[in-house]
Symmetry: C2
Subunit: 462 residues, 2 copies
Amino acid sequence: MKPSIPKGTRDFTPSEVNFRDFVKGKIKSNFELFGFEPIETPSFEKLEVIADKHVNDGEQLIFKILSNGEKLSKADLSSLQKQNYSEFANSISEKALRYDLTVPFSRYVVQHQNEITFPFKRYQIQTVWRADRPQYGRFQEFLQCDADIIGSNSLWQEIELCMLYDLIINDLALKGVCLRINNRKILYGFAKLLGFENRFNDFTIILDKLDKINIDGVTKELKKQNFSKDKIQIIKEFILLEGTNKFKLEKIRKAFKDSKISLDGIDEQNFIIKNLEESGGFESIDLKFDLSLARGLTYYTGTIFELTLPNFPEIGSIGGGGRYDNLTENFGKKNLSGVGISVGFERVLMVLQKFKLFPKDVNNSVQVLIANFGSKTALICNSILKELRAKGVKSEFYPDDSKLKKQLSYANSKKIEYVVLLGDVELQNKEFVLKNMYDGSQANFKISQLESVILSKLKKFN
Amino acid sequence: MKPSIPKGTRDFTPSEVNFRDFVKGKIKSNFELFGFEPIETPSFEKLEVIADKHVNDGEQLIFKILSNGEKLSKADLSSLQKQNYSEFANSISEKALRYDLTVPFSRYVVQHQNEITFPFKRYQIQTVWRADRPQYGRFQEFLQCDADIIGSNSLWQEIELCMLYDLIINDLALKGVCLRINNRKILYGFAKLLGFENRFNDFTIILDKLDKINIDGVTKELKKQNFSKDKIQIIKEFILLEGTNKFKLEKIRKAFKDSKISLDGIDEQNFIIKNLEESGGFESIDLKFDLSLARGLTYYTGTIFELTLPNFPEIGSIGGGGRYDNLTENFGKKNLSGVGISVGFERVLMVLQKFKLFPKDVNNSVQVLIANFGSKTALICNSILKELRAKGVKSEFYPDDSKLKKQLSYANSKKIEYVVLLGDVELQNKEFVLKNMYDGSQANFKISQLESVILSKLKKFN
């Protein structure tokens, strides 16, 4: 059998794991800096939880887990015959891998509501799975990083989340990131003013495509879906609006003044943008009110966010989120408003790689290799190893007395900085040779000084 | 719908995640101290990889993933009719969740053999899934922590792994841990001497039960399986052998002197035990050569390890491992000897909880809450927040101007040490009140001194 892995999945080598852990660590520490606490939920949930109606993209992207043994006798063969594969699958499956972190989070909140003090600020960094067609930047298994606050409708939360995005981006040294912000209330009022509030979802789904198919594509789609010519003209005018955030909001306020819900949305946007500016603005990101931002997911009810890189549009958004008022309703808990953001971990990694922003100090290598010169010196090498480790030095003893060349090439491949050479001759002289693999230099020292010599050489102790 | 999770799975609250991360961090840092590097493999593998013959416990413990859409039309209905559920499942499933980390590791090694420099020292800390009946200490989803070296048959590796176990246990402050060690070669020679080498597997499976069913149970089982009375007597004599490691090894060497393979195993044990003793012994664990240790898994060919807590036998083993010579053979790569250990993460957690060894300094709480007194002071509170965070202080602003009692109770529930009170009166006096939630004390300070006052109070900066 020639070994391979399923399409859309990945093996991670040591340097890849270290890179991923580095980025994960940055996101995690900023989540915690802002007062979010971690939770973890099971990889699979009951099928009825995962197949939540909120999930737009639909059931076909869910990985279902096959029931075991006799439970398979319940297979609904009539569905199979009718080629109703979804019904058939549901007859032999009771659980499914999580598709996102939002549904498990709302299930968690309702299930644990009596232990939770609200507002509940949680973050969750876990894997999700989607039976999606694998393509550039899209995998069947990937990491999601979400932070949400549930149980308060204060707009200071939206402000917090913008500042959080800013510090994460700043910490990762990413440049040219734009935080687009809008409010579903403004959009809903807009649709109402144009008389198609009953087609609000179609409208937002088309708007969302602006980045990908540009304005001509959007116009074509709107036509195809029978939006009238004059209304398309109005839509174009507003979604292409340029200028400062203040200018755009003022302009929209005047035009939408007959829609109470739009005005509410505009007031919210104003509050957020004004307070962010007065708190001193951002370190790294550029905040842009953008009426064309719609966010496909139907559960958003207020502010919506999206993080993009205008100079790297192929990558799509690298984060997004928003306010939702009814997320836990499906699980029987009403009137719990929440707001949250997600960091597109895999895409952020791709951006860091593209712009070579992988910092050099993520070197997590072994620091010292003790070469193996056979049985006479093995025991003393082992004692040295013990001492080095007691001082926190990452070190290892080459297991076999292979040719030195092979041992040094092993050190090279693992990017080990120092090799200790202690053969029979050195032992007689109570000495050892310390070889620096980075610059090739080497020098003799007394064995009794080994620990202090190495500690003083290693950067982390300088 | 009343929300719940599948049996055998768990939600983890913030304090549970912090506890798990703390223990995971200890294991990880010791793995790295010993020169192991991390890899990660996909959660699911192709079915033919997971259903590897090495896995004893069998197919029924594997979670298979249902294929999507039209692939279900391939359902093998004749198997279903014959109640051959396994065949039926295989006709509509192409992949399965990983059952352990050993099979993915061997698949990884063979697949990436041209990029790997051997000996390859890898660790892997990832979730595994088993469709096992949930019971005390046994879950359907749990974390595994493995460290293996593959590509060298040096016994110094076994010595390294014993020292690694010792430092992990020491770091976790666990007392009374016993590292049982044996060698499958000695056992195989023993079986051969008794004339039942063709029943070696039955023999080891029964031996393995000694901890659970004690010597009478083992005797009964051996009888039931038609081992003869006099041979059972010999088996009993040797597996109950007491005394120092040296004494037991000497006694067995004499008795087994006609078995070349046993003598090889005894030499290996001697080498390991002698060198460990001469390197200064252990910090925390007690090393015990134990002929009754067998380890069920058939892939072990040399040294075998098991970590137990004699004063907490209900918990079973908290770690185990051994030497295997043919693990990658199934994937087409022969003659690659490896040796590895596993730390029983979930059981270690249970032990730490039982003996209340959860260290106090795992406190990962938010450090400062800024109370909310409404719109007049909100903006200045937000600026303060920004400054504190710039200094690395985990802090948050209460989102609503609720009653102070509610805000303080929120701080209490999140174990936040300090609350900053800055209302209209304080603002007029350019002051703030700092309340210590741990001892109830409070004092007034100038706003201009806020940052330095808080930094000097917080323990982490003392």
